[in-house]
């Protein structure tokens, strides 16, 4: 389901054919990039649901005989824009979803993204808070190997979480700076 929104987001910015879309998905490292055949089936489904349509070009035409197939550029429909807009209004639930949202965002997404980043930061703090305190360092490996492994895994988890937290902190600072700049530019004074 998330691939649908990524496709809508990409096509909302610029029409593209299936090949270019698939390459973009792979570059984004979007969650659960489907196999190529499944991806093209998804595009067909999205066409059938009137979420996307051909961008004015004719259906695939062979350039005479056995010549190359001309790929068909696609774009979002009005319904596709509405569906994407509704999805954008939701706060990303996971770290990966936030990353994809940022990757396919547009300038008017900034305030919503800032809220999402603050929420993700709070959630990251909660995860750090819930990490169990390491059991301690045994005197010898034979004494308590399980505890030692638990300590190693705890260190790995806290390192990953603190790395994520640093990313979120930096992103929040950048977004708040952009919001202040935009507020000054537009004279609204509503920046955080």
């Amino acid at each position: 389901m998330s691939t649908t929104y990524v496709v809508l987001g990409l096509l909302g910015r610029k029409a593209a054919n299936g090949q270019a879309l698939f390459a973009a998905l792979q570059r984004l490292r979007a969650p659960a990039v489907p196999p190529r055949t499944s991806f093209y089936r998804l595009l067909q489904t999205m066409r059938a649901e009137n979420l996307i349509e051909s961008a004015g070009a004719p259906d695939q035409v062979k350039a005479g005989g056995d010549g190359p197939v001309q790929p068909v550029p696609l774009r979002t429909t009005r319904k596709g824009e509405e569906v994407f807009g509704a999805w954008q209004g939701q706060i990303p639930e996971t770290y990966e979803a936030l990353r994809v949202r940022i990757a396919i965002s547009r300038p008017d997404d900034l305030e919503a993204l800032h809220r999402a980043v603050c929420l993700a930061e709070s959630r990251c703090l909660e995860e750090l808070h819930l990490l169990p305190t390491p059991p301690g360092f045994p005197a010898a490996a034979e004494d308590s190997w399980d505890e030692f492994c638990a300590t190693l895994l705890g260190v790995l988890e806290s390192s990953e979480l603190s790395g994520r937290l640093k990313w979120l902190q930096d992103v929040r600072v950048l977004m708040e700076s952009m919001l202040r700049q935009s507020a000054r530019h537009h004279g609204t004074g509503n920046a955080p």
Partner: protein
């Protein structure tokens, strides 16, 4: 510059504020300890406003109720660890008793073997522990630690954080530390993230908090 910073620390808590360089950590620590006056808003210590105290009142609070630990040491070269601690207690007891209490405190934090060593000869971990002892020897109700774990390896960090956790739990001291990496202070609670001068984290509970920053925007 700090904006809309709002937090509270209760007795017996080991609280942590984490942020990168120039996030405002040391400024926050200095405000909490009464070392730096706030330009706006207030810091409440035991429900008393630091900004409304005169210099003498503030100095008395700093001497008796707040301990501030950072990586800095004595201003004079050649001071031994025990002498540095003893000077803190000279206003309330004899030099002999001050030395006795100082040696005891250095033992409690695990560095009695460097009691007579000058600051310049101490390792990073020893300096951190001696700084802690220096902040604790007055038995403060609030301990502020500014970036105590920087430059230490994982075992050394574990030793410092474990000591702070025990201190908070056993004596009811409220402890607030700043760190560049919240992952290094496992077991701290509550924790806040500071970036660009603004804070993300749990909203403070007003009742019973020993240290309170003014409530900012929700």
């Amino acid at each position: 510059m700090l904006r809309d910073v709002s937090l509270a620390v209760h007795p017996g808590e080991l609280a942590a504020v984490g942020g990168g360089r120039s996030s405002g950590k040391s400024t926050l620590a200095s405000l909490a300890a009464g070392v730096l006056p706030a330009d706006a808003g207030d810091v409440l210590l035991f429900d008393r406003s630091l900004s409304r105290m005169n210099a003498a009142q503030l100095a008395a609070v700093m001497r008796t109720e707040v301990g501030f630990a950072s990586k800095g040491g004595p201003t004079q070269r050649g001071y031994s660890a025990v002498d540095w601690l003893s000077t803190v207690l000279c206003d309330r007891t004899t030099w002999r008793k001050a030395r006795g209490r100082s040696l005891d405190m250095l033992g409690r934090v695990g560095v009695s073997d460097v009691a007579n060593s000058p600051w310049e000869n101490l390792s990073d971990t020893e300096r951190t522990l001696v700084s802690l002892a220096h902040a604790l020897v007055r038995e403060p109700k609030l301990l502020i630690g500014d970036e105590l774990t920087v430059g230490l390896d994982i075992l050394e960090r574990g030793q410092i954080v474990g000591l702070l956790r025990s201190l908070a739990a056993d004596t009811g001291t409220a402890v607030l530390i700043t760190t560049g990496d919240l992952g290094e202070v496992q077991g701290a609670s509550p924790i806040w993230s500071l970036a660009g001068g603004s804070l993300v984290g749990p909203r403070p509970m007003a009742a019973g908090a020993l240290l309170k920053f003014p409530l900012g925007k929700p």
